[in-house]
């Protein structure tokens, strides 16, 4: 009756047609192994835990799918803060770029600090030019 024992799961889940069920129940009377399996099955069914997802998980699913907010639907304060942050970023980038240009200019023309002596010479040169013009 090995084949009959193999069909036990179908009997346990009531997935046999009427005729097959009657035949199997006759087999059950003469098969202690199947009767033991039936008892174990009942125990498994009553011991098997059933869980429900935590509410926080359900809420998280909704917030990532049906209740996901697009940028246009964000609150005004969020959008303002984001705009300010963008302006700040653009400003910082502009200042940084300007500084870079100044450094590049200094490097290109090899500008070096001027001493007081050089300034004094320049001033006296200018004064002498002015006196020539006066003549």
């Amino acid at each position: 009756m090995k084949n009959a024992c193999d069909r036990l799961p179908l009997y346990l889940y009531n997935e046999m047609d009427e005729q097959e069920r009657i035949i199997f129940e006759k087999h059950l009377l003469s098969c202690p192994e199947c009767r033991q399996s039936l008892e174990i099955f009942d125990e498994i069914q009553s011991a098997k835990p059933e869980y429900s997802a935590p509410q926080a998980v359900i809420d998280s699913i909704f917030s990532k799918t049906t209740r996901k907010k697009s940028f246009l639907k964000q609150p005004a304060i969020y959008k303002t803060a984001l705009a300010l942050a963008a302006c700040l970023l653009i400003g910082v980038a502009a200042v940084f770029k300007n500084t870079q240009k100044t450094i590049e200019y200094s490097n290109a023309y090899n500008v070096s600090p001027i001493s007081y002596e050089e300034i004094s010479n320049m001033v006296s040169n200018i004064s002498s030019l002015e006196s020539i013009n006066m003549l």
Partner: protein, 198 residues
């Protein structure tokens, strides 16, 4: 309102832009899917993450879903694939010794709410239940999967989903019963013998 809708109606409503229809699908299937996933991965936090990923994938793919197939089948195929992805990513988990996995399962049972009431007068019965649960947790992933899928599908449906002959599933199920029986008899021989004498 939505609770009375068939799955196919919910799909149509969702495709017409009604997000509440999707939320009803989530509420309708979350418990079955969560029980299925947690029984496989044996870790509530991992199960939480997988469940979220499953529903996000369903949400993204539902607009393309053809209504010819059954929604529940499709959802469980996604759940199975994503749970198997987890096992592929976390191969070391499967290499854990059996004792460690048992401990994990018991810690889940301690932390998770169980719908079954546990009154003091049936404490012996509950000990027995714990033993049976422990025995189930010692089954292979595939065997546990089959036991939990059976809550939602017939053998014929599972055979179609997994593209396996129904005979293979029946053998696997019988083997699982024998394993549980063996584990119980090894861990609680006296109680088991008393059960058999009845």
């Amino acid at each position: 309102m939505m609770k009375n809708c068939e799955d196919s109606e919910l799909i149509s409503k969702f495709k017409d832009g009604d997000n509440k229809a999707f939320e009803e699908i989530v509420l309708r299937y979350q418990a079955q899917l969560y029980t299925y996933v947690i029984s496989m991965v044996k870790n509530p936090e991992t199960a939480n993450d997988i469940l979220q990923d499953i529903f996000i994938r369903i949400f993204k793919n539902l607009p393309k879903y053809s209504e010819e197939n059954k929604l529940k089948h499709w959802i469980f195929i996604i759940a199975k694939n994503m749970t198997m992805d987890f096992f592929r990513r976390d191969k070391t988990r499967r290499a854990l010794p059996l004792e460690t996995q048992e401990d994990d399962e018991m810690s889940i049972l301690d932390t998770m709410p169980d719908k079954t009431p546990h009154p003091l007068e049936v404490i012996i019965t509950n000990d027995r239940k714990e033993l049976v649960r422990k025995a189930i947790s010692n089954l292979s992933v595939e065997e546990r999967e089959l036991i939990y899928l059976k809550d939602s599908f017939t053998f014929k449906e599972i055979a179609e989903m997994q593209n396996k002959p129904i005979g293979t599933l029946l053998s696997k199920f019988n083997r699982s019963l024998q394993k549980v029986k063996k584990i119980i008899s090894e861990k609680e021989p006296e109680a088991y013998n008393e059960e058999c004498m009845r």
